[in-house]
Point group: C2
Chain length 268, copies 2
């Protein structure tokens, strides 16, 4: 079956949808058949981005690789919670059947806790968690005593991942390869970056994930949203020296993430 | 009663909790009695920040102004949705009674749609919506046709605000002063910043909010989270020239936001 990559982080705005889109396009460019599931139907950022891509291609008569897209909403009209959960399981299961012949399926999850998001997490061969370089974001992974430089306990999101890892193991699934990816890294900010990096390395051992260097804060990661394009769709040369520098660095960052995901599945 | 400031944006990671903390400390420094309500109990970023502040003050034997803090969780154990909603209304109402003698109450809401978050919105005299400088974030305010440069329709979050404005009006409340505040503004990024700015100005007329210049992307807005401090607690001089520049600019940004909020209540 497909290699399933889930973008997960209960912390909002960490970069799940942005990373999902760039992984999808990178995998398409590498020649793979790619499926995509948006579990955040209310906001629908990934669905919108892919729809924008399709529209841009049509309006400009272009051939642009597109993923096979599925959008799954929370079950809102069910009479009981058990009914709602069954509807969500069935919808997700049907989507996975539709996408069964894809080499990769990328699943984007909402920045909030829900049964549907948890279901999505159990499907992960690789879980990619983007993270702002910030103590606020770390707070959802672990409670930390900064004076004592000690990790006190796991926090809501790592607890959720732990529970879904258990659920997956009990259903006979192989272990989830969990990658925490630093995102929106500033080019300044030496001390905070170093402090967050150290804490992440400590957490990685405690909570069983590995850290990927991730993406810098770059306008190119967000300014092409209206066209549904990514930097990977642009000509290598970019437009002018500075643009080219950030453009090439961004390309390297996406490649490095893809390679990190690949290493996980080789090791597995 | 108190002047209620709600931080609202269904888009995650737009800066609600960060802005809430800085408004709270700015108002305390101005000599006001300030109440704070955290409606995002699961993540609890604001509650944690205030708890960190209290701990830091105790450990260092310091006098530090603190808000009167209330944290309200979603009702999870209720038998029916009607029960859950009544529990939430009662809890919020009780918190507002407790804080009745405060000059200001600052309410932080989650980055997701819920009955509790909507209730919080109806209490707003001023609604402050921080927004990343990004088409992705704008997408939750309005569907936009970028080719035609046209606003197609309001999107999920502005629809939600519209409904809560109606609910408040029907309950006899005064109009909500809605301020959309740009956040994490990059010092580079001229074109994207300009494009987003133009769209915001168009949206402001259509959706009835005003735009505040907001905060730049500055490490000082997040690196003091472990101590529960803000830049407003630090000595004016900062630590070194570059630190001082960003420090002073950040101070100005917080002051400008406070003044913008004040203008709204004068006009009202
Ligand atoms: N590396 C980056 N460089 C620049 N901007 C970025 C980067 N990553 C994300 N962004 C911007 O940060 C904001 C949050 O990103 P995104 O919407 O992808 O996060 P998310 O985790 O999917 O959020 P949510 O929890 O709301 O679903 C968006 O405005 C996006 O354009
Ligand atoms: N002006 C700023 N400069 C630098 N970092 C910022 C700024 N504003 C917010 N941040 C950082 O951006 C991230 C999101 O901010 P914050 O948690 O306050 O947003 P939020 O809207 O409350 O998110 P959620 O929807 O998850 O509650 C955090 O890592 C925070 O430290
Ligand atoms: Mg998203
Ligand atoms: Mg918050």
């Amino acid at each position: 079956g497909p290699h399933v990559i889930v973008l997960g982080n209960e912390k909002g705005g960490s970069g799940k949808s942005t990373t999902a889109m760039h992984l999808i396009v990178a995998l398409l460019k590498a020649g793979h058949q790619v499926g995509a599931i948006d579990l955040d139907a209310r906001q629908g950022t990934l669905s919108r981005q892919v729809e924008n891509r399709r529209t841009f291609a049509q309006r400009n008569d272009l051939r642009l690789d597109l993923p096979e897209m599925r959008t799954i909403d929370r079950a809102r009209d069910a009479d009981t919670r058990a009914d709602a959960e069954r509807q969500e399981r069935d919808a997700l299961s049907a989507a996975m059947d539709d996408l069964g012949s894809c080499a990769f399926v990328v699943i984007d999850t909402p920045g909030s806790d829900s049964h549907l998001s948890r279901l999505g997490h159990t499907l992960a061969d690789t879980l990619v968690t983007p993270l702002n370089d910030s103590f606020l974001d770390l707070d959802l992974l672990a409670r930390i005593d900064h004076d004592a430089k000690k990790i006190l306990s796991p926090s809501v999101y790592s607890q959720m991942v732990w529970e879904q890892r258990q659920a997956r193991a009990q259903a006979g699934g192989r272990p989830i390869d969990w990658i925490v990816m630093r995102n929106r890294l500033s080019h300044l900010d030496a001390r905070n970056k170093r402090d967050v990096g150290r804490l992440l390395d400590q957490l990685a051992k405690r909570i069983s994930f590995r850290v990927a260097p991730g993406f810098g804060e770059r306008v190119i990661f967000r300014e092409l949203f209206p066209k549904g394009l990514t930097l990977l769709d642009l000509r290598e040369s970019g437009t002018g020296v500075n643009m080219t520098m950030s453009h090439m660095a961004a390309r390297q960052e996406v490649r490095a993430l893809l390679s990190e995901i690949g290493h996980g599945s080789e090791a597995a």
